[in-house]
């Protein structure tokens, strides 16, 4: 009876705490652009940081589906509660671990949960790590991929090439971050197991290209040239000092660069377009990820996704992540790529790389 009473009281206490947290969590989740909701969030944050450590999973759950600003408010609140809990050895490790294990929770709070476990019980984090190899969070995958990478290195140092290859292949299958993929691809290539990087990343390699339209005084960026009005792959148009017509282009670059300089030569103050179709197995959420150091615009199924008029400040894989909804079947992708007037050696590139993946960076491959 006594145990039941204590249990009842505990449940009731949790219920009270839960009720008291729902309002501040709501206030924080309501924050948005340009400081909207900041005043309420400031008060709510103070309230949250006074919460008992046992409520940590609930605060973490508050991050589920929240916008990145609200995530940061809550990340900071979790940090404060956890600091005190770890100091007092009161971190509710089991419930934090259960939160991490539940992949229905969003990636961001699960990463925070893992960090808490690492801080409070590093040996437990080490034990959990191998189970994260196929995790939906690319950030959590880094840990087991890193372990496999090191394991492979050790096997190789002992001269066990087959074991090393197996470890690297297993790691490669799960790796989503460029630095780890690059490292693994090199090691596997050296071991005679080259990796199909375009497939691993989901780069689109086959395109139709058309150029050169003008970009004198960078005005081409805002000019609607014919490919923005119609896709007629057998058409030709007056271009800048030449006729512009569509040509086939297949990238041979293992990082999927679509290089306009190759077919059109190193032109300056020009605009080019690239067109392709992506046959999706199903209607689904996805991301189009682009790397480009020229001015660019991207359309999916005729809808402009994003436009950026920055030139030659640098490019990298996944420089821009554009959330999209793919239709089942054919999806048209049009990329505008503008080269400017600069003449320095580092302004030669007139190219982009584009891949289709999910929000963790896992390639989505087109139906063949």
């Amino acid at each position: 009876m006594k145990a039941a009473l204590i249990s009842c009281l505990t449940l009731s206490s949790i219920a009270v705490q839960a009720a008291s947290l729902s309002a501040p969590l709501e206030d924080i989740r309501a924050v948005n652009r340009e400081g909207s909701g900041n005043e309420k969030a400031t008060r709510a944050w103070q309230q949250l940081t006074q919460a008992d450590p046992s409520t940590l999973p609930e605060v973490l759950a508050g991050m589920n589906g929240a916008n990145p600003l609200a995530e940061n408010w809550l990340r900071a609140a979790v940090g404060v509660i956890a600091d005190q809990a770890i100091l007092a050895k009161k971190l509710p490790i089991e419930s934090v671990q259960a939160f991490l294990a539940d992949t229905k929770n969003s990636s961001a709070p699960r990463v925070v949960a893992f960090d808490l476990i690492q801080r409070a019980q590093p040996e437990l984090a080490e034990k959990i790590t191998p189970s994260l190899l196929e995790d939906p969070s690319s950030e959590l995958r880094r840990h087991p991929v890193s372990k496999l990478l090191h394991a492979g290195d050790e096997e190789l140092a002992q001269g066990r090439k087959d074991e090393a290859t197996n470890a690297y292949l297993k790691a490669m299958n799960s790796a989503r971050d460029e630095d780890q993929i690059k490292d693994l691809a090199k090691k596997l290539k050296d071991l005679g197991k080259p990796v199909d990087l375009p497939k691993h990343f989901g780069f689109l390699m086959d395109w139709k290209l058309i150029a050169p339209f003008t970009n004198v005084e960078r005005k081409g960026f805002d000019t609607e040239f014919p490919p923005e009005k119609e896709i007629k792959l057998d058409a030709s148009y007056p271009g800048k000092n030449a006729e512009a017509k569509w040509i086939d282009f297949t990238s041979k670059d293992e990082y999927g660069q679509i290089d306009f300089n190759k077919p059109f030569t190193m032109l300056k103050e020009v605009t080019g377009y690239a067109y392709t179709e992506f046959d999706s197995v199903e209607a689904r959420d996805a991301q189009i990820r682009l790397g480009c150091k020229d001015g660019w615009k991207v359309w999916l199924n005729g809808e402009l996704l994003f436009a950026r008029d920055e030139y030659h400040r640098g490019a990298k894989l996944d420089q821009y992540k554009l959330p999209v909804k793919l239709k089942k079947g054919k999806n048209s992708i049009l990329v505008k790529c503008c080269q400017n007037e600069q003449t320095e050696s580092w302004t030669v590139e007139w190219q982009f790389q584009l891949r289709v993946c999910d929000d963790t960076g896992t390639a989505i491959l087109a139906k063949k």
């Binding site: 400081g35 900041n38 420089q319 821009y320």
Partner: protein, 391 residues
């Protein structure tokens, strides 16, 4: 020596009543002048009092408010983990740390990092800005007051090489520059609510300079020149349009601004006009920004030569080659200028020596790109790995 310090104090007004002369509340200290206003100068014979390991990269300067040192860094494969630390200035003990996540783009040139802008403080709050355009306001005890994601708000406000303009705070307004080739803006943000008081379009060109404060006006530098802005309203008070550097920032005193423009140009701005006092083509700052001590200006040129010149007319007095290469800006207290080279040579220069003289060097054995901070008779410098107190 004391009258000399009094002269310095009279040149620079502290922007907030909550700050003391010993505080170093922003990039290049009080009013972004790079000159300490306190009477307790560090002097020449410095040695490391303590050092602390940092978990991430950064070339932001430390700032100091009271007995607390604040510093930012960024960690993780994409430098997306944004750290704010508060340490005890006395012994380097960690008082608090907050770790947030970048909501904007974290791409940056290898030589810089996401934690490039220096935080600033009004004496009550600390404002931490990153190249990703994430901005966090904390009280001095680490309580989060508000936050912004300026690239989340303005999606093309970013620079793929990284941004480094440090914010300044004046009249309850935090002034932030996010200037780049695409969506180039400056915003004045209410320090209490974190909401915009104003937002201005700025020249569409990459810009890594930081604002200075001159007679209660915030001077925003860009490739077009220097614009004096009322911090509370964003109204333009005066505008100098003869071009300016996009890396070294201006030097400021109570009576003039020295702009890296066509070499160096001295201005005496007042409402409606920015009249030119003089111009010296040979005084061209490299990466570091100039500073003024007494009646002299000190310019570090692109070849690592420190030049002393008159603030009356720009006439050169002496030139002194320093150990380089040099990325950070010099700072000063009393008669000494302090600067650290990229190779970790922390150099103390006696400006009163006939031809200037490096009188002390400390080898920190690390890559240092930062600008030092001065407070309470000590100097704070940082690398991608460590924070040092020199005393």
């Amino acid at each position: 020596m004391k009258p000399f310090f009094n002269l310095l104090s009279s040149l620079i007004l502290l922007p907030s009543a909550l700050l003391s002369a010993a505080d170093w509340p922003q990039f290049r200290g009080p009013n972004a002048s790079a000159v300490s206003t306190e009477t307790k100068a560090p002097g020449p014979k410095l040695a490391a009092a303590w050092s602390i390991d940092l978990p991430g990269r950064g070339l932001s300067s430390p700032i100091v408010v009271g007995d607390k040192v604040f510093i930012t860094c960024s960690s993780g494969p994409d430098q997306a983990n944004l750290h704010v630390f508060c340490f005890s200035a006395a012994d380097g003990k960690k008082l608090w740390e907050r770790v947030m996540k970048a909501t904007g783009r974290t791409m940056a040139h290898n030589k810089t990092s996401v934690a490039a802008p220096t935080p600033c403080s009004d004496g009550k709050r600390v404002f931490a800005l990153y190249s990703s355009n994430d901005l966090f306001a904390f009280d001095l005890d680490g309580n989060l007051l508000w936050l912004r994601g300026l690239t989340y708000d303005y999606s093309n406000a970013s620079n793929s090489l990284g941004m480094s303009s440090s914010p300044v705070v004046l009249d309850e307004t935090l002034v932030v520059q996010s200037e780049n080739d695409s969506e180039s803006i400056a915003v004045g943000i209410d320090v209490v609510t974190g909401k915009n008081r104003w937002k201005k379009e700025r020249p569409k060109a990459a810009n890594w300079t930081s604002a200075v404060v001159y007679q209660n006006v915030v001077a925003l530098q860009s490739s077009k020149g220097l614009t004096g802005v009322n911090p509370k309203t964003g109204e333009i008070e005066w505008d100098y349009t003869d071009g300016a550097g996009t890396i070294p920032s201006s030097a400021v005193t109570q009576n003039a601004i020295y702009v890296p423009s066509n070499g160096l140009t001295a201005l005496a701005p007042e409402r409606g006009a920015a009249s030119q006092l003089w111009r010296a083509a040979g005084l061209k700052p490299g990466t570091g920004s100039p500073l003024v001590i007494g009646d002299s200006i000190y310019v570090l040129n692109g070849t690592g030569v420190l030049i002393k010149a008159s603030i009356a007319n720009g006439d050169e007095a002496w030139k002194l080659r320093l150990k380089g290469p040099l990325s950070g800006s010099p700072v000063a207290a009393g008669q000494y200028i302090y600067i650290v080279s990229e190779r970790g040579d922390f150099q103390v220069i006696d400006t009163t020596a006939k031809e200037g003289e490096v009188i002390h060097t400390i080898e920190l054995n690390d890559t240092l790109l930062c600008t030092p901070a001065i407070s309470n008779g000590a100097i704070f410098v940082r690398s991608d790995k460590k924070l040092w107190k020199l005393q």
